[in-house]
């Protein structure tokens, strides 16, 4: 459920650099309203990436992958919205969400300059890195930090489905070579 952005940037951002790890420190763990915002933002980023890919991708497999991303991430975000409404929680914007959005916008601009096979390759490579980064963040930071049981459960379902996305993206990436 979370994100998608630039391959290298994504990995760097969530795994080793400032953005998600910052919030991950035990002393400063994200609150549920922040987690909800991060998760939703990450989903929106991958949805937008998929929409871009639907317009630009050339390979049939890449187009099909983008369609799968759109379907699943929209489903997760719809569920997330229903949950925050039910829990009466207002998602709270935060530095992690802002950094994610900024990186995503940069990556999207970068991908927009590519066409055909070059786009396909760059998009899928980024999807691999993005899902890897998001899954890592979910596992080590967001899920452990979530205090509401339903939010935690939704994040766990998200992790499960995004692990499948990562495998799928890796498979498509291997086929493109």
């Amino acid at each position: 459920m979370l994100i998608r952005w630039s391959a290298a940037a994504a990995a760097a951002m969530m795994l080793s650099s400032p953005v998600l790890l910052q919030g991950a420190s035990a002393a400063d763990k994200p609150t549920d309203p922040q987690i909800a915002h991060i998760a939703y933002t990450a989903g929106v980023i991958d949805i937008n990436a998929a929409k871009q890919a639907q317009k630009k991708a050339k390979s049939k497999d890449v187009k099909a992958f983008a369609k799968d991303m759109l379907r699943d991430h929209e489903a997760v975000n719809k569920q997330a919205l229903a949950l925050v409404k039910k829990l009466n929680v207002t998602p709270e914007d935060n530095e992690t969400s802002k950094a994610l959005s900024k990186q995503a916008a940069d990556k999207m601009a970068e991908l927009d300059k590519l066409d055909g096979a070059a786009f396909d390759k760059a998009y899928v490579a980024n999807e691999v890195a993005y899902h890897k980064a998001v899954n890592g963040a979910l596992e080590t930071q967001l899920i452990p930090s979530a205090s509401n049981a339903e939010l935690k459960s939704l994040l766990q379902t998200g992790l499960k489905i995004f692990q499948g996305h990562q495998q799928h993206a890796e498979h498509v990436a291997a086929e493109l070579k």
Partner: protein
């Protein structure tokens, strides 16, 4: 007319031999990205009720092409089994979801 009664009775007996005793309805669920039960035995004429409890769309897609059932989020669908065989099937959207359906004649 005992002769005619007898032939009707015979026809009824023959018919009951041809028509399967009773077709069963078997439920297979998809919940949290898992298909349960992972292995099902059924007979030709049985009905499978596919239940998708997830908020994701799934499919039940036979690897040999025998069926491809679409399951929108939180929806069910049914299939009547018409062909014998051991069929491996999976969800096209989430290929980690896989299971087996054994259909006996």
């Amino acid at each position: 007319m005992p002769g005619r009664l007898a032939s009707i009775a015979l026809a009824a007996v023959l018919l009951s031999m041809v028509v399967p005793a009773r077709a069963a309805t078997i439920e297979i669920t998809m919940d949290n990205l898992v298909i349960a039960p992972p292995e099902v035995s059924a007979k030709i004429g049985d009905t499978i009720t596919w239940v998708n409890r997830d908020f994701f769309a799934h499919t039940a897609t036979a690897r040999n092409g025998d069926f491809d059932v679409m399951l929108p989020p939180k929806k069910s669908a049914t299939s009547v089994l018409k062909k014998a065989g051991t069929i491996e099937y999976y969800c096209r959207y989430h290929p980690n979801m896989k299971a087996t359906l054994k259909i006996e004649p």
